[in-house]
């Protein structure tokens, strides 16, 4: 039923607005609708009366009514097609003009046509407008006056007193039509002016909303976004048509869950009767908020937004919340980048100063060594090895070796970091190790890799500045001896001792590529040992009638498919008594039977992973893993290690490796 009524209404609207398309003025539109309505109503009435009169055998009247019907029908069609409003208006009014005069002339049943004709002023004035309507009504007035008052002018006799009543009521209708049209057109004018003012104001608001670089919008009590909001808001959220969208829905899953639930409570507070505006300003959870927009592939785009909320209070109640939102991502990112860059630059400058004086070839060597250490550990991690303690110890040894090399080159930043990691491992390696600890140290390894990569970048940049000639000259130097020299330089300064290095019988070319790193590690570790524990201070040496300057002799030999390396210093030598005393104080050795031990057995304790005779662990020595590391490496390669020593005179390590 409702659907049927609706389609009738639509049909009616369609007919009555015939020819109204493209007309902007409301006044004109209304006139068109009125014209069409009168036209249609007239057509129905005319058709009906024409049929009635035909039945009553009043053929002339029936015919004239029918022709009037066709004229009106034509006017409607003409209006619909040609959209000539004024012309079809005249057609309708003139048709009615003559039709009514004709009807008055014929009189009708009981002179009833005199009633119909009263409606003319309404039709004429509303359709044609005030002035032409008045002229038409004036002419009509003359016409009906003549028909009513002049005897025999019409087919029926109206008589004077009946005529006065007809004319009187006509004048009354006329004046009402006049007043109504006057008032209506005035109202219309005001309305049109008002709406054009509003339109202009709306245009300005729209222009502001389209161009302001902040999201501005209103929230209603259900926290939905109002119809008027700035375009920037769509840009910020990357969504069109935000009208009636819930702000909370837009934020959900993009901001932190805690902040999200705080926001929900916060916005609800605006609509509570006890509202403290200042407090609300202070506790705004979206004051500065991170939004993570999920990207199509994977990952996020992060935006930083700044929201402000202000209640719009009317009748002592919050009606809406006025909200602004600003995208401050660029500022934040810039500040972050700047800060990161600053830290990075500072670190790089430090490292740069450290590496600029070091031979690039040695740095390259350092990087290659470090990378191979990490690679070895990674291979171990990938293997089936299940002994976590063994793995952690290997990590420790690698970190230790890399640290030693870093220290040697004066890369204090890197060595400090490695030292820190060593400390971390020291804390746990006595204990039962969990998988979590293994993961933790794998993460540490990744950090070391990062650190090495940084150094690598820096070295490449430094090398780019240096000429090729320089680099060649440096490469030609003996890198093994160079490394030992450097160790001596760094450590002898630290302990205020003097050491003379003799390498006349050392042939670095005899060291095969396979053993290059092994030999280098051994030499550096033994040098460090010697400078930390072996060679005495000049004063002590003098009192022992020794040369003030200590001596380290490194020699090598190749015999029977074996490579032999000897490292000898003229320091205090190994002291079985001191070693025993020291060993007794070590927790790990507490169950040992020291009294029954031979000197040889006591000396071998220095290769134990827990042994160290330096009084404090310094950066350079005293971690105790060094000699153990050497022994393990040598044995892994199928070689052997011997130590010979005379108390107060010398200490010599002889390493044999199969070729």
């Amino acid at each position: 039923m409702a659907g049927f009524l609706n389609s009738i209404r639509r049909f009616w609207n369609n007919i009555t607005t015939s020819g109204a398309a493209g007309i902007l003025s409301m006044e004109q539109k209304r006139r068109v609708v009125f014209l069409n309505s009168i036209d249609l109503a007239g057509m129905f009435i005319l058709l009906a009366f024409s049929v009635v009169n035909y039945r009553d055998n009043k053929l002339l009247i029936a015919a004239s009514l029918l022709s009037a019907f066709f004229i009106l029908f034509f006017a409607l069609i003409y209006m619909r097609i040609k959209k000539k409003f004024v012309l079809s208006g005249y057609i309708v009014v003139i048709t009615i003009f003559f039709l009514f005069l004709f009807l008055l002339y014929t009189g009708g049943v009981e002179k009833s046509y005199s009633l119909w004709i009263q409606t003319f002023p309404l039709v004429a004035i509303f359709i044609l407008g005030l002035r032409p309507g008045l002229i038409a009504t004036g002419l009509y007035f003359i016409g009906i006056s003549c028909l009513v008052f002049i005897p025999q002018a019409a087919q029926v006799e109206y008589g004077f007193s009946f005529g006065v009543r007809v004319i009187g009521s006509f004048i009354l209708v006329f004046f009402f039509a006049l007043f109504y049209e006057n008032i209506r057109s005035q109202t219309q004018e005001t309305l049109e002016k008002l709406s054009s003012d509003l339109l202009a104001a709306k245009k300005q608001t729209d222009s502001i909303m389209a161009h302001v670089d902040e999201g501005i919008f209103l929230l209603d009590s259900t926290l939905n976004i109002g119809s008027e909001y700035s375009r920037e808001l769509e840009k910020i959220f990357g969504i069109k048509n935000l009208e009636n969208r819930s702000l909370l829905n837009l934020l959900e899953k993009k901001i932190d869950e805690k902040i999200f639930s705080a926001t929900k409570d916060y916005l609800d507070m605006f609509f509570k009767p006890t509202i403290n505006i200042q407090l609300l300003e202070e506790i705004n959870p979206l004051d500065r908020v991170e939004l993570h927009f999920v990207e199509s592939d994977f990952g996020f785009i992060t935006k930083y937004l700044e929201f402000t909320f202000a209640p719009i209070i009317s009748e002592e109640k919050t009606g809406n919340i006025l909200c602004t939102v600003k995208d401050i991502t660029e500022e934040i990112e810039l500040a972050k980048k700047l800060k990161a860059q600053e830290t990075r630059t500072k670190k790089q400058m430090e490292q740069l100063f450290q590496i600029i004086n070091v031979d690039p070839a040695m740095l390259n060597e350092f990087i290659l060594d470090a990378e191979s250490e990490l690679e070895n550990i990674n291979t171990l991690l990938k293997s089936d090895e299940k002994d976590y303690n063994l793995i952690i110890n290997s990590i420790y040894q690698s970190v230790h070796a890399i640290k030693g090399n870093a220290l040697l080159l004066g890369l204090s930043h890197t060595s400090k970091k490695l030292h820190g990691i060593e400390d971390e491992i020291s804390e746990v390696r006595e204990k039962e190790l969990s998988w979590n600890e293994l993961l933790k140290f794998t993460i540490r390894l990744s950090e070391i890799k990062n650190e090495i990569n940084d150094v690598k970048d820096l070295v490449e940049r430094v090398l780019a500045f240096r000429s090729n000639k320089d680099v060649k000259k440096i490469v030609q130097k003996d890198l093994l001896i160079n490394a030992v020299e450097r160790t001596i330089n760094v450590l002898s300064k630290e302990r205020n001792i003097e050491v003379n290095l003799v390498t006349d019988n050392f042939n670095s070319k005899a060291v095969t590529a396979k053993y290059r790193k092994v030999v280098k590690d051994i030499l550096i570790q033994l040098t460090r040992n010697s400078l930390a524990h072996g060679i005495e201070e000049p004063k002590v040496r003098s009192s022992l009638a020794k040369e003030k300057v200590g001596t380290i002799i490194i020699s090598s030999a190749v015999e029977d498919g074996k490579f032999t390396l000897s490292f000898k210093d003229d320091g205090r030598g190994l002291n079985a008594h001191t070693i025993k005393e020291k060993a007794k104080s070590i927790e790990a050795f507490k169950n040992m039977d020291f009294d029954g031990m031979t000197d040889q057995r006591v000396l071998s304790l220095i290769f134990h992973p827990r042994f160290s005779t330096a009084k404090e662990t310094t950066f350079a020595a005293g971690r105790g893993i060094g000699l153990n590391l050497i022994k393990a490496t040598v044995e892994k390669n199928g070689g052997s290690l011997k130590v010979r020593s005379a108390r107060g005179k010398f200490c010599e390590f002889v390493i044999t490796l199969p070729l």
Partner: protein, 156 residues
């Protein structure tokens, strides 16, 4: 990279396998994964992470295991890595992510829906430049799979 962000993913993975496939996977030793390293995985699901740490968690499966898991869940016989397998792996990893989310509640972290990469030795667009990837292998009676993590701490 902080272990506290990785732990919930490991626990969630074990839980989900236990609950859905009745299999307790065993965590193997972690190692450093070279971004260009060749691998044996055929399907990977990537979960993006943002907030106080930024990066990705990736769970990778060989074709055989992915097929077994799919048959177990859907009841169909699977012959190749088709849309069904991709959907199933996506769903499994989605459950892992949802599970892990509970353990991450106290941190300001957002995790994305998983997206799937497939193909022999497929390339994963790891975020971050120099930062190495930590690979955590899992062993189970159904087969081996791998969880890889790359995270950069935003707040130190």
């Amino acid at each position: 990279m902080d272990i506290k962000y990785i732990d919930p993913f490991i626990k969630a993975t074990v839980n989900v396998f236990d609950e859905f496939f009745n299999v307790l996977p065993e965590v193997q030793k972690p190692y450093l994964l070279d971004k260009d390293e060749e691998h044996e995985w055929d399907v990977s699901a990537i979960i993006g992470i943002a907030g106080e740490a930024k990066g990705a968690v990736v769970i990778s499966f060989p074709a055989e295991l992915a097929s077994i898991l799919t048959s177990r869940l859907t009841g169909k016989t699977v012959r190749e890595i088709d849309e069904d397998v991709v959907d199933t792996i996506g769903e499994v990893v989605n459950i892992v992510a949802g599970n892990a989310k509970k353990g991450l509640e106290e941190y300001r972290l957002m995790i994305s829906l998983p997206s799937i990469v497939r193909g022999k030795n497929h390339k994963i667009a790891w975020p971050g430049k120099n930062a190495p990837v930590i690979a955590i292998p899992f062993k189970s009676v159904l087969g081996e799979f791998n969880l890889s993590v790359i995270l950069e701490n935003i707040i130190a």
